[in-house]
Symmetry: C2
Subunit: 123 residues, 2 copies
Amino acid sequence: MELDFDKMGGLVPAIIQDAETGKVLMLAYMNTIAWEKTLETGKAWFYSRSRDKQWMKGEESGNVQIVKEVFVDCDDDTVLLKVEQVGKAACHKGYTSCFFRKIDGDVKIIEEKVFDPEKVYKK
Amino acid sequence: MELDFDKMGGLVPAIIQDAETGKVLMLAYMNTIAWEKTLETGKAWFYSRSRDKQWMKGEESGNVQIVKEVFVDCDDDTVLLKVEQVGKAACHKGYTSCFFRKIDGDVKIIEEKVFDPEKVYKK
């Protein structure tokens, strides 16, 4: 399966969905290395644009994502991973999902925090 | 709510999820105009990179997406829309979801076609 990494300068977006609840947890980007490592290891790897390197989701927090199913879209330029989210939280701000805010007139936080980022991530 | 359009040269990715089934239907991109039109009209608008213009999803096929809920991610650079998918198919290839292929050893089509694209789209 060859993905189209050219359309976005070497990256494809990866949507991460909780395999059990169906909740969309996050979106991140993969370069070819992160994509290959994800398929090889069965854990989600991404490419960080700000740090310019691939990383395994959860390598610092312990909240790794165990890949259950992998889907590719019609244009070969986006992937969807259904995962088991270890620690029940994907967001570096401590929430289950990165989409913990809803636009409803104004912007409302609609989830409870699962962990305290200050205690999980090194300063 | 100000989104961060700068990180990707004027675009943010938008994940589209079926509000009723929880199925992830597609990923597309929004520029500021598409984002504003989505919020104003309650229907999903996107920006086409290949055609360099915004468009309303379903404007040709009739398969519009009626927006039920809008979420923003922790970095303000991705949105998640829960929608009612008119016509029960989001993919221009005739499937419910653009993620109609699963990687399982090789690549397998795991959905039935809902419509015939040749009958729906102009040549």
